[in-house]
Amino acid sequence: MSPEQILQYIFAGITVGSIYAFVAIGYNIIYNTTGIINFAQGEFVMLGGMISFTLSKFMPLLPAIILAVLITAAIGGLIEIVFIRRMRKSSVLGMVVVTIGISILLREAALYIWDEQIRALSFFTGTEISSVNILGARISPQVLWVLGVTSIIVGGLYLFFKFTLTGQAMRACSENSRAAKLCGIKTDSMVNLSFMLSAGIGALGGCVVSPLTQTHYAMGTDLAIKGFIVAILGGLGNPIAAVAAGLILGLLESFSISILPMAYKDVISVIILLIILVVKPSGLFGSKQASSLKDF
């Protein structure tokens, strides 16, 4: 393989990996405040793409995206109020089942609101055929947008959780929700905020990747599974590690394609996941002590 090709595979891996990371970040934010894996996370990505596409017919791209993110965040908040809040005392099994149910409902609703056709937002800069040359490898300018937005989200989340009062309160909820409640933190609104935040981030991801991947009503399921793999690979509850794990999985898939038939791409990534689950269930970046305290 020539250096250009290796670089090309790296770029392909990073592109796919950042899409997975978008989903995994959302999983982790919700997991942190509630201990729930929200299997409907992939549907937020789909909704972001679908809503922004529809809105972009009536307004310029930027307000369409902002509005789509806000609408999806509102849907996320609504889901928490209507479904999740009642389920707080339920078992992990129950939560898995109910969020899978919600994801099915969102997907079917999208099929009836829109249809089975694909949609793609227009490219943010350039067109379908523009391409940027980086050291001999070529990528679409949209990939740079994806990478840029991912970095901004990661940086923003880091600052949010570290330095804002709300962010610290959310972290407190994840450490110990009863203690947080005793300290006067409104855990209910924190949980609600976490759903809105992760729905919004998912939707933003859905808008940014839409020109590249296109948006389709059933795209959420596959993304949810991949995002789940990435979230566990990075260690549940760690949004920043999820980005690293997403990139690792993306690169792994990309290079596995270079030597093996693509048909078995998912088999390889799932087998690696199973090995990690059995050998080091806390994830690549999770600490064993911390994970043993949590109830998975």
Partner: protein
Amino acid sequence: MKRIFTVLLLTGFVLSTLFVSCKKEETGTIKIGAIFAVTGGASFLGAPEAKTAEMVVEGINANGGVNGMQIELIIKDSAANPEKAISFAKQLIEEDQVLAIIGPSTSGETMQIKDICESYKVPLVAAGAAEAIVDPVASYVFKTPQKDSYVAKWIFTTMKSMGIKRIGVVAANTGFGNAGKGQLEKYASDFGIEIAIAETYDKAATDLTALLTKLKAQNVDAVVNWSIVPAQSIVPKNMKQLGMEVPLFQSHGFGNIKYVEAAGEAAEGIIFPAGRLLVAEKLADGHPQKENLVAYKTAYEAKYGEDVSTFGGHAYDAVMLVIEAIKSADSLERKEIRDALEAISGFPGTGGVFSFSASDHNGLGMDSLEMLTVMNGQFDFLQ
């Protein structure tokens, strides 16, 4: 004790379904069954097919039906699950006593119900693409989409005239994609073309740059993509972004202008063989298919507000062929309908001019396809 209650409940449920579902016998209608994957993984096929079948039957009923009888179309949504297609086929045959079945949408489902229709002697006009549906010929099974081998041969003929020698093939992991890949591999050597690399990708794939990088490294003269899924517009985009300037050929699955729109400028110059539905208006006035094609296209686009696709066309052909057979047989016997179907000759449909025979249950020739290309965001004949 409670277990006994549950079991009693079970009895009650089944009893009620048995008696509540007693259907009123309707007389004076011709029942035609349809199995389409309206939802699920093959909804790109099934949704336009179901809409088309509904529209065509509505139109015929509004004009007095066939032989003075109204048609009752029973559409079942299999969501591309073979087990459901099997259940529905049995239901349509035995319970609804349909005269003929149209569909299913995918070749996998069609292969699963082929033997059922053959052994119960119910005419099946399939919209699945695989050649195995009509090879070996089952006396009751017909299909409307053009043969994959014709498509492969058209692609290779065009390549030969362009001086292309070494190609890369990518196909979706659907029945359609796999069958097409198989045909390409089968006929390549006949045309002196070498397939350097052949790969399948997942039907839900969203980014194929890694796969295309692999193709690029093989220095191919052209790429063939065979699928019906969204990847049809991802492949051209990714190719352009990777700076691959070689021509891209697609299959007849590229039969929806939506894919051109989604691929935008990247779609320019894609070459693919397809039925004439996509270029109906551009046909010469005397063409035997033109009248039907334009009529179907205008009616569909007016009724549903979406662009017509060749998949809907396969369902159009299936319904029209069955109706043509009923008309000419003037009978409500499945056997007579089958014989009439096999006797159809020179029938202009959307996929081409159908002429069935005992050995050919597809009824279309190489001339049913045209090489098309994308020019200024529109389908046009390849010059």
